[in-house]
Symmetry: C2
Subunit: 364 residues, 2 copies
């Protein structure tokens, strides 16, 4: 099987057509310089905890990821999984007052982990970042979603609280984003293998969409799988620029999925496009298709899958006619971020990582 | 103007028809023994802070109210105000997994006050109350909404945090419920007057609905008013059993509404009926009409009005054919709770209470 074939699955023939179209003038695209959500100007990422620099220390077992836009980004959300844990999603509905979010928090800890957003709010308030409410005061707008990971490799009581959010917010910055067993992905699992945190970006380089940047970050903690029994990623066909180090045929020693009711994949998509709240909502809905293509099944009863959108609008052109292009790009970028998450993960106390199962596909 | 007339407003003629209908066999209703949400068996209320027993102490200026169902109650929500601050409302959608909520938290503090739910979760976890997730562990299901009150009678930084939720949860019990400047109503204002916390209940006593109990609790913090310039409550016509001590004509020295963008009225309706999640959602939607009848305007851009429903199901009969009756009763009960809130409130550092403006209607 050729290297290209290994990236194929049931989506293969559709992918071939798509590839022809995607290299036409209207859709030329490349990963951004970091291939990370931080390729979108003004978007910062903070994770807590990060892996210890001491290689003998055990990896983090739960954590928090925050995506910050200090200037505020127009927000949207798609909440389609069956067991969500969320806060501040109602305000994102297009008819509601607040337009811009200052940060989105993704966290482990099941619903307990919603506390992480408290720490992010206090961190941003201290920096004067938030919705102005008079008297120089602000209320930071910080939507949040959680995933289920408690009790996997530590006591059930070990889970993110407000201090995790505070630490992640303090660590937020532009630049490269660490992936794998990091932040909200630290305790994640995916279809019987190790899940994790992944990111990706796409720069559109032709036609009316030239200059639009879309980034995604995702904590993959899915009941469904991201690759078939031969190790082919369902979203492998969406690779841009040889970003997946997939080598060749491997074995079929794949761990079966376990608990189907304690999962949830949560993500943020960011773009420099100038979107209304309604358009950001539509982009979130289209981005959700990126989970469908990368994870099978997805959006199940025990998956609280939730996708946030942050549109910074630093590209000030009217994007009305680009919403479908941005949404489609968001879906593909999110799919690729899922693959990055699985490739970057290392095994935990009980489940193997993809790279432990298919070491040929994970060159050192 | 007669005592009855004083309760009339633009709804008066509709009310007359309704009254004729409501005393017919199908709709006979009375307040419960406490005229409080705690008339619903299994429903407990906790407030923090309560007014000091020292009358020279200033009243509380912000706080948290929790409504607890230790056995779990089927949940629903209606979120129609334009500036909401919420958590765990997505899980209440009928198609999502979790059926029952263990508590609902109402809190001051704007979005910062969402932290109160963290304390309620830890309090309930310590009591073993929550959604079972294996290994004897639970995740308490605690939806929450907040209202805007920071900076009114104290520094902007004075607002509920997790400790408020913990204290309110520890204080939760059945029995009488204190109203006025209490819990989530402590810092509330309403259309230029003092707002507050109010509660009411209705027992249906005839026909198929005999034995159904509906209770409501509400923190009234509305841009809109609850009474006209002569002191007539818009919802006065919904009085049950001479519960409003309205005496006679008074002056028109009414304070005009102030800030229209920093408000929010939040409420919980509870019933002993056995409802599905979809039915509880419908009851929440109908209950929201109770705000429309009691507060004018309501559901504005700066009102994050949010109504939760908790259906305990201790009345185990199939309630399918009673949903509209329960919803209508919920609306009326909520309207009456709004009047109770305004009548029980005392003035704060800057705005007068209803009873300071219309002392004739507030006998000692």
């Amino acid at each position: 099987m050729s290297r290209r074939d290994r990236r194929s699955s049931s989506f293969a023939s559709a992918a071939a057509v798509f590839t022809l179209f995607s290299v036409s003038a209207a859709w030329a695209q490349t990963p951004g310089p970091l291939n990370a959500i931080t390729d979108v100007p003004g978007i910062e990422v903070g994770n807590f905890p990060l892996p210890s620099s001491d290689p003998t220390s055990p990896p983090p077992i739960t954590g928090t990821t925050v995506v910050v836009s200090r200037a505020g980004a127009v927000g949207g959300v798609s909440q389609r999984g069956g067991a969500p844990g969320t806060r501040e999603t109602d305000l994102l509905r297009p008819e509601n007052l607040v337009e811009k979010v200052n940060a989105v928090v993704l966290s482990g800890g099941s619903a307990y982990g919603l506390a992480a957003a408290d720490g992010v709010m206090l961190c941003l308030e201290a920096q004067g970042v938030g919705f102005p409410v008079g008297g120089g005061h602000v209320v930071p707008i910080v939507p949040s979603a959680i995933l289920f990971d408690p009790g996997r490799c530590a006591a059930f009581s070990v889970r993110p609280n407000a201090s995790f959010g505070e630490a992640a917010c303090q660590a937020a910055k532009g630049g490269p984003v660490q992936q794998g067993n990091v932040g909200a992905g630290a305790g994640a699992r995916s279809g019987g293998s190790k899940g994790g945190l992944g990111t990706a970006s796409t720069v559109l380089t032709a036609g009316a969409s030239n200059g639009i940047i879309v980034g995604a970050i995702v904590a993959v903690n899915s009941s469904g799988r991201t690759f078939d029994t031969a190790g082919n990623f369902y979203a492998g066909f969406l690779e841009l620029g040889n970003e997946f180090p997939l080598a060749g045929p491997t074995g079929t020693d794949v761990v079966p999925p376990s608990n189907l009711l304690q999962n949830t994949t949560i993500a943020v998509v960011a773009t420099n496009a100038k979107l209304t709240k309604a358009q950001a909502t539509k982009v979130a809905q289209m981005a959700d298709d990126g989970l469908a293509r990368a994870i099978k099944p997805s959006h199940g009863v025990g998956d609280g899958d939730t996708i946030f959108v942050m549109a910074t609008g630093t590209d000030t052109r009217d994007a009305t006619n680009l919403v479908s292009t941005i949404g489609s790009t968001a879906a593909d970028t999110l799919s690729r971020a899922v693959v990055h998450a699985i490739l970057a993960a290392t095994g935990d106390c009980r489940v193997k990582s993809y790279c432990e199962q298919f070491p040929q596909n994970c060159p050192k």
